[in-house]
Symmetry: C2
Subunit: 336 residues, 2 copies
């Protein structure tokens, strides 16, 4: 069973292919009756315009590409849901690829997406260096891109970000106001802007409350990282009174190890996480965490991208910073 092409329906009705094409696209230049006739017989024959051919000549696809590092943690999935919502409404389809935290794969992802002539890209960077030149090149070629979550100043594109500094400050302040001192910060992956900002927030909170600087331990974003650090702290008998972790996975990893060793949360050690994960509500005790407006991030990114697509050429990059929320739970309740 071969593909049914525009020629088949043209032949069937003894009209030219231009006319059939017009039936599908033009608003004028075609009689209403012939249009209806064509549309109807096309339907009967099961004809669908081949978008590959269409792309080739129109140079646009009504497809949007999204590239994220992973989607195991419901953070990115929720963002994608938000983006998909507004994109679908505008008639765009969403193609998703995951880079697996590898910048090489990310590069390949973006390349295939571009090769498939997506009209725009929404990207969360895996590396803050490796592909920068490539992205600059893409932007020069006038391909609309908006970055979210992770971005670099160096790349002149639209971004939607989270105020990591502010919310890290709030989170730390929360611990301080609950009466905790001797707070340790477990940082995220090294060299990431977002890591640095959370760290800055942590430090600022101490300064603001005239406390001596808190201890900083380089950790990482994975659960194993948190487990490892907790174990080290126990081994060295350097148990802090409270922990502010750069994300939830790391916080939960640490919490588990501490619990296994008989420490009570929060009575012995209070813990606050970051980037509300699905787990936070269900751990024991439940984990206090900063929640990012995931759906909003997705929607805002999508809207920014659409704007950019429509005003191609003379669009000035914007950076939008969104607000979050601190979900206070059992892991950091007040000291008695």
């Amino acid at each position: 069973m071969k593909h049914i092409t525009i020629k088949d329906v043209a032949k069937k009705l003894n009209v030219s292919i231009s006319t059939v094409s017009r039936a599908f696209n033009d608003k004028y230049d075609i009689k209403k009756e012939t249009r209806d006739l064509i549309l109807q017989t096309a339907q009967e024959l099961g004809y669908r315009p081949n978008p590959i051919a269409r792309k080739l000549i129109q140079q646009r696809s009504f497809n949007i590409g999204i590239v994220v590092p992973e989607f195991e943690n419901s953070f990115f999935p929720q963002i994608m849901l938000g983006a998909q919502e507004v994109l679908h409404n505008k008639g765009y389809q969403v193609l998703i690829m995951q880079s697996n935290y590898s910048w090489e794969i990310e590069r390949k992802n973006v390349e295939t997406l571009v090769d498939n002539m997506v009209d725009g890209l929404i990207i969360s960077l895996t590396s803050e260096k490796q592909n920068n030149e490539y992205y600059k090149e893409l932007l020069k070629q006038d391909i609309p891109i908006v970055f979210f979550n992770r971005a670099v100043d160096e790349i002149p594109a639209s971004k939607v970000l989270f105020d990591d500094f502010k919310w890290a400050l709030f989170a730390t302040e929360h611990l301080i106001m609950q009466g905790y001192r001797d707070i340790v910060h477990l940082t995220g992956t090294h060299n990431l802007t977002l890591t640095k900002n959370r760290l800055r927030g942590f430090e600022q909170a101490h300064r603001k409350h005239k406390l001596p600087p808190g201890k900083i331990i380089s950790c990482g974003f994975k659960m194993e990282d948190g487990e490892r650090i907790a174990q080290e702290l126990i081994d060295r008998n350097e148990i802090p009174r409270a922990i502010f972790a750069a994300n939830d996975s790391c916080a939960i990893g640490a919490m588990n190890v501490f619990k296994q060793h008989g420490y009570k949360i929060p009575n012995d050690i209070a813990i606050v996480g970051f980037t509300e994960s699905k787990l936070a509500k269900h751990t024991y005790p439940s984990l206090t965490s900063v929640e990012q407006p995931t759906r909003d991030i997705g929607q805002t990114s999508a809207n920014l991208l659409l704007e950019q697509i429509e005003n191609k050429g003379f669009f000035v990059p914007q950076t939008i910073i969104l607000n979050g929320r601190l979900n206070v739970r059992d892991s950091s309740i007040k000291i008695k």
Copy 2:
């Protein structure tokens, strides 16, 4: 800055476009030196063959489409990781779309993927009815598809499935052997084969151990479903001794409500879930659950699809059923 096409590099070297094309594709019919020269100058010019045009004529894309209902629960993401692994190795790129549990969106997803000329599709059905005719049509057009997780007999395609019956039986048996009686089954979404199979397993376990049939409550797959049912049971004061839920979300929802009302897990109520979610390890108490071999499902699906692509035309659909594991945790430990 315009796209650089094959013509540009042909002109630059005073060769024909056929020769350039051959440089990129043929193994013979071209002198080694010219090939190297062409490849090199192509590189310098920044030329990349336009896959859209290539698709148009070759009718293949080296892209594979995956359609899943969602990816918030790490079940599908892990499967996709597995699939991506083997597909990347074979030079395929993976395009992902989410149907959001809507068969209309699923339909649109598949259509755009097909329109984009993916070489094959990996799909987890959202509805067991609505799109059946459409899928049959696609198969008639010789488009390779493999279904996983959810599938229907009616569609003659390859499938990789889980033995829901067997593992529901094991899970129930586990509760029985731990000494629990008066076990209630919270079923999944109505009418799904997978729901029926888990139910059958639950019943079979009772028969096998010569117990009176267990109580069955129609529930659903979401956390709210579990919460609702638990609340109802409490209101009616019909507290069971143990629960086998059709999935983890539902199990956790119920567990939370019971806990809030002062019931102890497992001392008052034991609980077993299904389809190991990331949460299971971290709830309090940790949740016993049947783990599906997610990565394996992805890999197997991909391999099946590749086989099918290579033997297009004379390929007989296979159904592969994979094995799981029962992760015993605190929520179902032995009665004292």
